[in-house]
Subunit: 240 residues, 2 copies
């Protein structure tokens, strides 16, 4: 497997992402964009990209903030995320340039793309779907489900899989129900899996170190949601 840093741009901002793929084959294959948590692009999203590459996909982990900025403090992460989310057009654009970079790679079959994301990264992936991006599927893990621009009927091309911690204090039941209504009105193909006994950041083994009880790793929900995503990708790609 090959992994390396990749650069791409969003206007004046230089973004420093990460790509992982099997370099023992030259065959074009499906590409998966991985958008990280609000802490920025770090080891969590990069490891997921490596696991996707091991499954036969080309995976690009995107840089949300520019210059590979990564923070460890929750309040600082929220500050950066809020600034980015304030303008929904710019927010979508930040994900779209990462997707375009993925689609442009010589290893990628650009007709077979998906996006996944964690926390704010899940919101990025869902915003791409709402924007009508040419994706076969989107999977969000503990992603925020609210939007300033609800999906318009018929616009979503991607099938949607949401993996949600039922006790996530940042994403209460009303938000999940509102998302379901939005997706149904939009005519999307959607599924939401709620995991009991599970809070925010449940896929990230480092979540507990943040020191907020609303964020915690949950090994079982991490494994279950990963398996659900793998099964979802088999459905939308018919195998890598």
């Amino acid at each position: 497997m090959k992994t390396e840093s990749i650069e791409y741009r969003d206007g004046d901002v230089t973004l420093r992402g990460f790509v992982a793929f099997d370099d023992q084959t030259s065959q074009r294959r499906p590409g998966v964009l991985v958008m990280p948590e609000a802490f920025g692009l770090g080891v969590h999203a990069k490891k997921r990209a490596e696991r996707l590459a091991a499954l036969g996909y080309v995976a690009v982990a995107g840089d949300p903030y520019g210059n590979g900025l990564e923070v460890t403090d929750l309040q600082e992460a929220i500050k950066h995320a809020s600034a980015l989310r304030a303008d929904p057009t710019k927010f979508r654009q930040r994900a779209r340039v990462a997707l375009d970079k993925l689609a442009s790679l010589p290893q990628v079959d650009a007709s077979r793309l998906a996006a996944i994301g964690y926390c704010m990264g899940g919101t990025f992936a869902l915003e791409l779907a709402r924007d009508g991006a040419p994706l076969r599927g989107v999977a969000s893990f503990h992603g925020g489900l609210e939007t300033q621009r609800p999906a318009v009927a018929g616009q979503i091309k991607a099938k949607i899989l949401v993996c949600h911690g039922a006790d996530d204090p940042f994403i209460p039941p009303a938000q999940v129900n509102g998302f379901a209504e939005e997706m149904t009105k939009a005519g999307a193909d959607w599924q939401v899996i709620s995991y009991g006994g599970t809070v925010h950041s449940f896929t990230n083994p480092a979540a507990d170190s943040v020191g907020n009880p609303g964020l915690a790793y949950n090994k079982l929900s991490d494994q279950r949601s990963w398996k659900a995503m793998v099964s979802f990708f088999e459905e939308i790609f018919g195998g890598a």
Copy 2:
């Protein structure tokens, strides 16, 4: 594969179930109880039992009403189901005798049991879990999630998987949210998958013939929920 009718009793009532298993092996293997829809034990639950047997399990499809009673009219089905559900002790007992029959079979490893069910059958399976039955797992497909006897903390031994149609008019969002609260308070290991664009009886190809728009087959949600159950069984049984 061998399939045959089996008789068992609940007090004065003779129940006529159905068993399916691979008769080319004498090894004891996990047993799965399949409780049918409110129409009674018919082709739908029997076929699911056969598919479970093909996966390596011993599957018993239970008879809810006695003498293998099967009805086709929705109102008649609701009448029979309501009579059975009126007494929660008797309702649980009706599922428990079927589980006992399954556990008693010479092909079954009684330490590795699960129960699944459709519509009222899903409720049967969940009531077994609430009752503390010795099950590794329970999977409900478009099952009613309300109960007269909410689970007591620490009592549920089974892991719970609920596969739910998001547009099911018989199981509105408030009922799903209430179930989630009940399971969380009980300390259960639970997951709920909500499928968009999906109503009641989504696993049953004959649902459309009932002539009620609240019941309809949904091939994609049927396939997805079956795959989710297979994955769940791999987790709880470590392979058949």
